[in-house]
């Protein structure tokens, strides 16, 4: 009789967020946790020292951003739509219209629930205006 291994995936807070015998599911969950961790690193790296947000809340925020990646992604690209409506889209504004990648199992800290938040964001970062210059 075959013995199935059980995989446990730990969230950013060290708690088990998924226990499964399906290695694919475990790997997906690991990817989501890793993405949450990357967002957490970005947030921690950019906040001023006196931000006053607890670690637990920072983790929740990072997980939330991953869970709501579609909405957050849309907001980060929001001006592309506005420009199109006004008929003044610039080459640099065109960030592409979607990879069309659907991943119903991605939702941040809780890989077991299915939010079905297909990405569809695409990149195609335009060749015109370089928005990285914001940061200069």
């Amino acid at each position: 009789m075959a013995i199935k291994s059980t995989y446990e995936v730990l969230g950013l807070d060290g708690k088990v967020v998924l226990k499964t015998t399906d290695i694919k599911e475990a790997r997906k969950a690991e990817k989501i946790v890793a993405a949450s961790e990357s967002v957490l690193d970005i947030i921690k790296g950019g906040l001023p020292e006196d931000h006053g947000i607890s670690d637990a809340n920072l983790i929740s925020i990072a997980q939330h951003i991953i869970e709501k990646k579609q909405e957050v992604g849309d907001l980060l690209k929001s001006f592309r739509e506005g420009k199109k409506k006004d008929g003044e889209n610039e080459p640099g504004e065109n960030e592409g219209a979607g990879s069309g990648e659907q991943n119903p199992e991605t939702n941040g800290g809780n890989p077991q629930s299915e939010s079905g938040d297909g990405d569809g964001d695409g990149d195609g970062d335009g060749k015109g205006e370089d928005e990285d210059k914001d940061e200069e």
Partner: protein, 60 residues
């Protein structure tokens, strides 16, 4: 300020405010209480790392 830079800065700030408002609203339901300034600081960080953040989203 160079008009192009000014326009980019305006756009960046608009994104910060939009994301900040969104975070405040959506996080309220998940029990994370942030002040407006804290939400704005988080939003600003994400907007400043916009490309990295979008790249992370694409990996999942």
């Amino acid at each position: 300020m160079d008009p192009k830079k000014a326009r980019l800065e305006e756009k960046r700030m608009e994104r910060v405010y939009l994301l900040s408002d969104y975070l405040l609203e959506s996080l309220a339901d998940s029990g994370v209480k942030l002040s407006e300034a804290q939400a704005e600081a988080v939003a600003e960080t994400i907007v400043n790392s916009r490309k990295e953040t979008i790249a992370i989203f694409k990996k999942i």
